[in-house]
Symmetry: C2
Amino acid sequence: MNRKQLVEHIFTKKTFLCVGLDTDLNKVPAFILKNEDPIFTFNKRIIDATAPYCIAYKPNLAFYECYGLKGMHAFEKTIQYLKSNYPNHFIIADAKRGDIGNTSRMYAQTFFGEYDIDSVTVAPYMGEDSVKPFLEYDNKWVVLLALTSNKGSKDFQFLEDKKGTRLFEHVLTKSQEWGTPDNLMYVVGATQGRLFENIRRFVPDNFLLVPGVGAQGGSLQEVCKYGITKDCGLIVNSSRGIIYADNGESFAEEAAKKAKELQEEMEKELARL
Amino acid sequence: MNRKQLVEHIFTKKTFLCVGLDTDLNKVPAFILKNEDPIFTFNKRIIDATAPYCIAYKPNLAFYECYGLKGMHAFEKTIQYLKSNYPNHFIIADAKRGDIGNTSRMYAQTFFGEYDIDSVTVAPYMGEDSVKPFLEYDNKWVVLLALTSNKGSKDFQFLEDKKGTRLFEHVLTKSQEWGTPDNLMYVVGATQGRLFENIRRFVPDNFLLVPGVGAQGGSLQEVCKYGITKDCGLIVNSSRGIIYADNGESFAEEAAKKAKELQEEMEKELARL
């Protein structure tokens, strides 16, 4: 999916919500476990219920890999289901990959070639040759970690150089040499609040993928106040807050309600642009 | 495997070689492709030929994931083959994972629970809660990226703070609060040469996993001169230089020759301690 299509979907559907498919068999309703492929069954129900309210889905690979081959089979089926039934939804493989050049090339082939997914999250620590192979595919996106939503983000991402420039700011600046707003997004956690204003000075046009709304405590209003652009420029993710909204027979309907609530807040934000 | 066992294996076998199982179907001998599971067939031959000369194997996940479920099946079979036939060999899943705490917990479960592998490489960018879940397993190891072997290592890892402390030095120092020399190793690329001396000031006792010997141009002698400790403290990896030493019928025998050459150099280095 290219940038123009992504922006069109956001304004047509009046939402920039991404639903995180972090499917954990310890948290899904008990009756789902009776199915032959409970992960895919759960995902399918969640997807069908929430698709009207979101423009993206983000399966986190950790939640599939941890069930071995069965988990990866459920991941593949989920991707196929999305591509067949909701081809306009943007798919983010939340994998946080990154390795030396020849190895990153294999990861890029996995997510963009083998699975034909729109984007993948990438860790910046290993620098240029670890990121560039992902940027060589047409209409595919790197979502580079810049400022994450977790407590550990404080450990290294805020380290300042002699001039007071912080590591995450170096990541934003340096990576601009590798990609463009047409193929490079950044992860900026909703928990970082006012820092969005600062981040927009470095990357005024790039899309930001914003996790941390909901379970992690980030505020949608604050993210929009400081981070939204005329093209929206935001994809806001909620995982646990939506998919585990309810633990009973009507879990999918409750997930849809939560997604709709966020969609309605987002519609208001988009109307202000 | 605990530290005492690892050190004993190194001194008993007179080698600290790790063979990287970066199995690429574009590089294996053509006749191997006729097998039903060419990745596993190749790995099995390489393992049987090189096992006398190494103490560790390091499959890089990228090379398995990129073949989808078939690749992951070959990965599982390779791990099972190693555990059944060479239980004293240390296994490193080179996966460079790392995510927010609850997600890193799933990755730790994958590699340490599901696959029962000795260690996994982890990226430090997301800080404490992204690393700690991996450190909660007995006799399992985190191999944290500190100073990598690739060109891109220059982009962020050398950034200096106001006092001249570099990012990779911060990673070494901060992570000492999370783990000990009994469960925490560091990746330091052989291409970093003399920097090993500097690194040993920060982590005098931790094992270092050293990629970059061979195809990437690092020198074993230099690594040992500045990085070896009385317990050895080094696991030196070679991937392409060993497993693709030859492209014909005798590829495994040629791989064994390359591994033996490195083992003989290592034996000399250990004899000096």
